[in-house]
């Protein structure tokens, strides 16, 4: 079943040791580190910012009812700000992801050229590895 499972997916095929090797390369570690630097803080920020809204609305309704401009209160403005928060994070993420793409492209090209190198052919035929 494992071979059927592997064969059904994608064009690039490699054995276990190759995936482990790629996962251990400096390029891949750099990619993961670059992603983490953006994604973790962005995720934590949006979760905290978002859940402040139901928490404040639920537990401090009087405070949130404070009128800011005319009849428009804090609750409505804070809710509205969530939309712009979401759009801003999405925009920042797309900008940051350009860097992820560059790093990933590098890794893909190296892996594919290795797979096509003549020295790699024997290992491709002895594909079944102990699992």
């Amino acid at each position: 079943m494992d071979s059927a499972q592997t064969a059904e997916v994608g064009r690039f095929q490699a054995q276990q040791s190759e995936w482990d090797r790629i996962a251990g390369t400096q390029e891949f570690k750099d990619l993961m580190a670059t992603k983490k630097v953006f994604i973790v803080p962005a995720f934590v920020f949006f979760i905290v910012y978002y859940f402040l809204l139901p928490v404040l609305v639920g537990y401090a309704p009087q405070f949130m009812a404070t009128k800011v401009i005319g009849v428009v209160n804090l609750a409505y403005l804070f809710a509205l700000s969530q939309f712009f928060m979401a759009w801003t994070i999405a925009w920042l993420y797309v900008k940051a992801a350009g860097d992820f793409d560059k790093l990933a492209k590098d890794i893909i090209e190296k892996a594919e050229s290795r797979a096509q190198a003549p020295a790699q052919i024997p290992s491709q035929t002895s594909k079944e590895v102990a699992r």
């Binding site: 079943m1 995720f43 005319g70 759009w87 699992r131």
Partner: protein
């Protein structure tokens, strides 16, 4: 023929034309399930928005805001912000590592058969609940709108059901995608027009508009009341309102990233980069739409008024009635047919994700151990199951009848998605130790906890006065055991706990060994499925 009927027929004719065009092009498995992965970023973004903005958002949100003001707007906020979870956590890894369904990603490092079987059960559960809610909604809407043309609830449900079966069975993902796109554009255009008309009513003065929202007059128990509709607390009241609000937020933020009909959309694009851009397109559309619910909902509250809406079809008719009040019957027909298109498109999206999961996960990979015995068998099975899913949804929707309380079905869909699907997707991508037992226990606990908690929640359990009769009565006449309407705050942690405990109690070295493969694939896109030729 009445104007709404003519507009409905025009929309149906256009979408059937698309289905015919798509049926000529949908040859092959990848073409049928994933539109050959050739859908572009903006197209898929609009289609994601089309899949997502259901009758619940258009008719439901406008209604909740019209009746309960600010608290209804909380749904709008959560429904957009939820896309950050999709964008930051699931869209790209899923596109990189999967093929047609959510279970593809889980099956990488885990034992495919038990994991696919459980994931398929959860996918079918979410899709079916969601679909029945839409079908009942469609039946009610169409029968109210086309009463003059002699179409009743039953005919309407059967009509909607047959149409969606035709789209999915003959047109596959390509036709479904274009139905979503057309519907999303219509919905945005209609909402925008309606918003402009609301502002025009207040002579384009935001000050006047918000002042009116601050003093909404209606009758409650025969008494005239004036309320500030921007004030929180009209829906979520003490003692459990605050917790319910947080619980709802959790279900929305974590449920969207586990909705099968949204997840399958990311397989229709050529690569992870396009998946990302489609989420951003979707966020632009969905965000603008939900901001405009301010005008729809508060517009209906101030211009039409609660009293009038209550006696003319109820909360769900708020947006169409607003259109009628502002620009007469033609516009009323236009907005109504947009609502109809909305429901059709969402139901088609749900049907294709359910039938794909059945054919790809259960039939090919669980029953036939990952080998498609004959070329084209998987597509054939999917077509047959789309037909069956459609027939089942039609039957249940008719049995439940037009007065069924369906809001909890959509809530249930989100809760199951957040409590069962999301924990296993996240843990499978991020946790090396995660294994098959953990995935199965996580899915099972998440599924049972969310369904169980809803069964003992105020949506199902309450003591009604004897004067209330029919399907509007609660199913169980007793005090609710679980006090919240939304189970997320308890069921999501339970889903995670189930997955973690199951993992820690068992040992599966292959899953840990294969983690590197999934890690590299999902993060780089190495070896990802490519776009096919048409």
């Amino acid at each position: 023929m009445s104007t709404p009927l003519v507009m409905f027929l025009v929309f149906i004719a256009i979408t059937l034309g698309i289905t015919y065009w798509a049926s000529k092009r949908s040859a092959g498995t990848s073409a049928y399930f994933a539109a050959s992965r050739r859908v572009t970023g903006w197209q898929n973004g609009i289609a994601v928005a089309g899949d997502y903005m259901s009758a619940a958002s258009f008719l439901g949100i406008a209604g909740i805001i019209a009746f309960q003001g600010y608290d209804g707007f909380m749904y709008s906020v959560g429904w957009l912000v939820a896309y950050l979870t999709v964008l930051l956590v699931v869209a790209e890894p899923l596109r990189n590592a999967g093929r047609y369904t959510m279970a593809d990603v889980l099956a990488y490092r885990l034992k495919p058969r038990p994991v696919r079987a459980m994931a398929s059960v959860s996918t079918l559960t979410v899709s079916t609940f969601y679909m029945i809610a839409q079908m009942v909604g469609a039946g009610v809407l169409v029968s109210v709108l086309l009463k003059d043309s002699g179409i009743n609830y039953k005919t309407a449900v059967i009509g909607v059901g047959i149409l969606m079966i035709v789209y999915v069975v003959f047109g596959g993902m390509l036709a479904t995608t274009w139905v979503q796109i057309i519907k999303a554009i219509l919905l945005m255009a209609g909402t925008f027009l309606l918003s402009i008309l609301v502002l025009a009513h207040f002579r384009f003065s935001f000050g006047d508009f918000f002042n009116a929202i601050g003093h909404v007059t209606y009758h409650e128990k025969g008494q005239e009341v004036v309320k500030d509709f921007l004030q929180p607390g009209l829906r979520f009241k003490p003692p459990y309102g605050a917790l319910d609000l947080i619980s709802l937020g959790l279900a929305l933020i974590f449920g969207t990233a586990g909705l099968p009909h949204i997840l399958v959309r990311f397989y229709t694009v050529p690569d992870a980069k396009t998946a990302r851009s489609s989420v951003v397109w979707a966020m632009a559309l969905i965000g603008s739409f939900y901001i405009m619910t301010t005008f729809l909902g508060f517009g209906a509250a101030t211009i039409v008024g609660r009293d009038f809406i209550s006696t003319h079809g109820g909360t769900n008719m708020s947006a169409p009635l607003l259109a009628q009040a502002l620009a007469g019957n033609i516009f009323f027909a236009f907005i109504s047919s947009i609502a109809f298109a909305t429901i059709l498109a969402v139901v088609a999206g749900l049907t294709i994700s359910a039938s794909t999961s059945f054919a790809h996960d259960l039939w090919t990979n669980v029953i036939h151990k990952g080998v498609e015995r004959k070329a084209g068998e998987e597509v054939l099975v999917a077509r047959v199951s789309a037909f069956v899913v459609g027939a089942v949804a039609i039957t249940i929707a008719i049995l439940l009848g037009p007065t069924a309380n369906v809001a909890f079905l959509v809530g249930l869909a989100f809760a199951v998605a957040a409590s069962a699907n999301l924990p296993v997707i996240v843990l499978s991508i991020f946790w090396r130790r995660f294994n098959t037992v953990g995935a199965v226990t996580g899915l099972a606990v998440g599924l049972l906890a969310s369904i169980g908690l809803i069964l003992i929640s105020p949506s199902i359990m309450a003591i009604d006065p004897p004067t209330l009769t029919g399907a509007a009565r609660h199913l169980i006449q007793a005090k609710a055991i679980f006090p919240l309407e939304n189970p997320g705050i308890l069921s999501i942690p339970l889903g995670f706990a189930g997955a973690i405990v199951g993992t820690l109690l068992s040992h599966e070295p292959t899953s840990e060994h294969k983690f590197n493969e999934l890690l590299v694939r999902s993060n780089t896109g190495l070896g990802a499925e490519r776009a096919g030729a048409l």
